[in-house]
Symmetry: C2
């Protein structure tokens, strides 16, 4: 029996017998608005596990340092253990209703360069937006490291745009997390899936991401299936 280290909203985290490796086990739960909206979708865990694996394998070819090792089965993947930096890094290539609500920036606004935002990863505080100075107060990230995170984030954005472009999806925005591995290096961690990206079909303009659940505008499983199918056709 593996030791359960943490159960989050979307995944369970297990310690393996190697000190610096974990298993991320993707759950079928969907949550939105910091857990205020909840539902179960049988098969969602599998989609996010497999889609995330496709993404990270691509990021290897783009020389992005990351935690992913391999998928073990439909819902589980092996990753390098990191100590997670408690910042949710949000990258926006285009505005969306959430930015419109917060700052009044119109939904069709395009950001070039991409707009990068830090949020403090803290459910009790509702993941508040923070600035660079808050990062230094709230985490052990140095000025040089924050700059490194910023540069890496822009590289990841470019890589992800290319990745999703292959399956005719436009990347509107996404959320990533970084952690420090056992060598102290900052590497991309967590997941990259339709739970954490806003994706739009380049031709039909259909939204293919968790917004169908957040906004109640479509069937989550159908949409995640479309993405996985396109990725499997590709490879």
């Amino acid at each position: 029996m593996l030791e359960l280290l943490y159960e989050g909203k979307a995944k369970k985290v297990y310690q393996t017998d190697k000190e610096d490796e974990l298993i991320l086990s993707y759950k079928d739960d969907a949550t939105a608005f910091n857990g205020k909206k909840k539902a179960q979708f049988t098969g969602k865990g599998r989609f996010n596990n497999l889609i995330t694996a496709h993404v990270f394998r691509y990021l290897t070819t783009e020389a992005i340092p990351h935690h992913f090792i391999e998928t073990l089965n439909d819902t589980d993947q092996r990753v390098y253990k990191t100590s997670i930096i408690p910042i949710e890094v949000v990258v926006r290539n285009r505005s969306s209703y959430s930015l419109n609500n917060r700052l009044g920036i119109k939904e069709d606004a395009v950001f070039e360069p991409a707009l990068v935002e830090w949020f403090y990863k803290n459910d009790a505080l509702n993941d508040p937006l923070i600035n660079d100075q808050h990062v230094f107060l709230l985490t052990d990230v140095s000025k040089e490291e924050l700059n490194q995170i910023y540069e890496l984030t822009l590289k990841i954005n470019n890589a992800l745009k290319r990745f999703f472009h292959q399956i005719n999806l436009d990347l509107i925005d996404f959320k990533i997390e970084f952690g420090r591995n056992s060598a102290g290096e900052i590497i991309l961690s967590d997941e990259i899936s339709p739970d954490t990206c806003r994706l739009e079909d380049s031709y039909t303009k259909q939204h293919l991401d968790k917004d169908v659940f957040r906004q109640g505008t479509g069937n989550l499983l159908d949409v995640y299936q479309i993405i996985l199918s396109r990725l499997e056709e590709l490879s």
Copy 2:
């Protein structure tokens, strides 16, 4: 009759017959929590008008560029007209309950260097916190100008700490606004008063600012009178 250009929560703004000069007329209204809490205090306008005048006259001696020209009477002051940059610049030398609520930073935390935050001056959006990139999207402020605003802000903080120290007050935090004058220069505008500063008596640790109204912990007029009296004794 002067033309009323704008009526805000705390002041009325009149155009004078000189194109680049305004009259700020301080009202007796107190508001908190973006106008959700309201009251009238006869004499408050006078206190803020006169206290602000003392502050800006001191800032002249510290070579801070600002809009203040002179007081005209108990409630009115003449200032250079600026086009206000829609950013509320907040400077924190120490934490407070609001930062504690937002980020969980303990109330007695001391910030050295001071923590500087930008908020988008927009009542309809509830003056949201923004980062540098949001500033560039939402205003016409350039990167160089934002840096200039930041440096000027630190200078103003140091000057204000010295100013209030003369009357045995510690400056916990404050909010300022900048505008562009007719020559295009960025200068300190608006007011600096117990409405916009958190001030603590260095010895008794009593709060001498609008928090007594916000929190319902004291009499606003008594507290503002104490500050004005100390300033008048000084000069």
